[in-house]
């Protein structure tokens, strides 16, 4: 799937550029490579900081405690994950960070969560049920504090920049819920 996506982006983009006579595409590719490197440089400090702090939390037993609290709630959404697994702490922290609009800080926890899921995945090259559910929750996450949007609206002189917050809470909750329902349907239909 990713193979086809990757190929079609390149093919469609390059063919269309040639047809429309847009020959800047080669320099755009180089700029994008540099942006990719910039992204790496900006993600390394975040990863190091959070995984550092998280490692203390893990060794002190704080993550296990959190997992115990979250197990009954998250077990409904992720029935495959064993009780009191640290995976629940990672998922919980990832969701909270996403809700607060701290997407960058959410990534390290998300990566740890999916690594845990992979450890009890039976087919190592195939996405497990919990992985798919988890990624649905990440791509359509419930947002209660859209920081970037609020600051952009302030920048353009909105009368009330926060006015969209309730709309965003409703929209993101509904699309997350519908995403989870569709995901569940895929699973149910396959097992009939």
């Amino acid at each position: 799937m990713i193979n086809y996506l990757f190929a079609s982006f390149f093919i469609i983009g390059i063919v269309y550029s040639i047809i429309t006579g847009n020959l800047n595409i080669s320099s755009e590719m180089l700029t994008a490579s540099r942006n990719g490197l910039d992204l790496l440089l900006s993600i390394i400090p975040i990863m190091c900081l959070w995984l550092g702090i998280m490692n203390i939390a893990k060794k002190s037993g704080l993550l296990d405690k959190l997992a115990k609290i979250l197990t009954p709630i998250l077990k409904i959404i992720f029935p495959e994950i064993p009780d009191n697994s640290p995976c629940f702490s990672y998922i919980g922290t990832n969701i909270i960070m996403n809700m607060l609009g701290l997407g960058n800080a959410a990534t390290p926890f998300g990566l740890k969560a999916i690594k845990e899921m992979q450890s009890f995945n039976k087919e190592k090259d195939t996405a497990s049920r919990s992985m798919i559910t988890f990624l649905v929750m990440n791509t359509a996450c419930v947002t209660i504090m859209p920081t970037t949007i609020i600051s952009l609206r302030m920048l353009y002189g909105s009368v009330s920049p926060e006015q969209v917050i309730p709309y965003i809470i409703i929209t993101s909750s509904l699309s997350c819920l519908i995403g989870l329902i569709i995901d569940r349907l895929f699973y149910v239909v396959k097992n009939i």
């Binding site: 799937m1 996506l5 982006f9 390149f10 469609i12 269309y16 550029s17 429309t20 800047n24 755009e28 590719m29 994008a32 490579s33 990719g36 992204l39 993600i43 390394i44 190091c48 900081l49 959070w50 702090i53 490692n55 203390i56 002190s60 037993g61 996403n98 999916i114 690594k115 899921m117 992979q118 190592k124 090259d125 996405a127 992985m131 798919i132 990624l135 359509a140 947002t143 504090m145 859209p146 920081t147 970037t148 949007i149 952009l152 609206r153 002189g157 909105s158 926060e162 006015q163 969209v164 709309y167 929209t171 993101s172 509904l174 699309s175 997350c176 519908i178 995403g179 569709i182 895929f186």
Partner: protein, 167 residues
């Protein structure tokens, strides 16, 4: 609300450190271990991030999406919404760029401005997230992940248009 999102990170840090001290954890060395892991994990996800950025850039900069969407004219919603709805799951930087131009041209309190703000704020870059997370654990068969992710994005676009029209 903005206060909560600013205070949460320092708060978590201090709770973790104090709890670690109470439980007599070797906090300094455990932190260093985590940093090491963070470095490895960043390098692990870098190739997929890099591939994603380049392929998406080639697609977006060829202008095919903006050209195609300008041809389509549906009266149900403002036509400026279509490019942002299509680009949001693919590229976060280019959808933010479009949001910028919509906000400056129509104003943040216009209907288009509100819908565009809600779409950008309610979903995340689906393709990027799926690509990065699965690559980090070397998953090749992603099953229905992408379809569900994109359907959730579509739901978000529909709801945001409805909600701004109703309320």
């Amino acid at each position: 609300m903005i206060y909560i999102s600013k205070i949460i990170i320092p708060l978590i840090t201090i709770i973790v450190i104090i709890y670690g001290l109470i439980k007599k954890v070797d906090i300094y060395n455990e932190f260093l271990e985590g940093v090491k892991e963070g470095l490895h994990l960043s390098l692990d996800i870098f190739p997929s991030m890099f591939a994603m950025i380049i392929s998406v850039t080639v697609l977006v900069k060829s202008n095919i999406i903006t050209d195609l969407t300008s041809l389509i004219n549906i009266n149900l919603f403002p036509k400026e919404i279509l490019p942002i709805a299509i680009l949001r799951p693919i590229s976060s930087s280019s959808s933010l760029m479009i949001l910028n131009s919509i906000l400056s041209r129509y104003g943040p309190d216009s209907m288009v401005g509100k819908i565009a703000s809600i779409i950008t704020g309610s979903t995340d870059t689906t393709i990027y997230i799926i690509g990065m997370y699965y690559a980090s654990v070397k998953i090749k068969k992603i099953k229905h992940s992408l379809i569900v992710g994109l359907l959730a994005d579509l739901t978000c676009v529909i709801i945001s248009i409805i909600i701004v029209n109703i309320l």
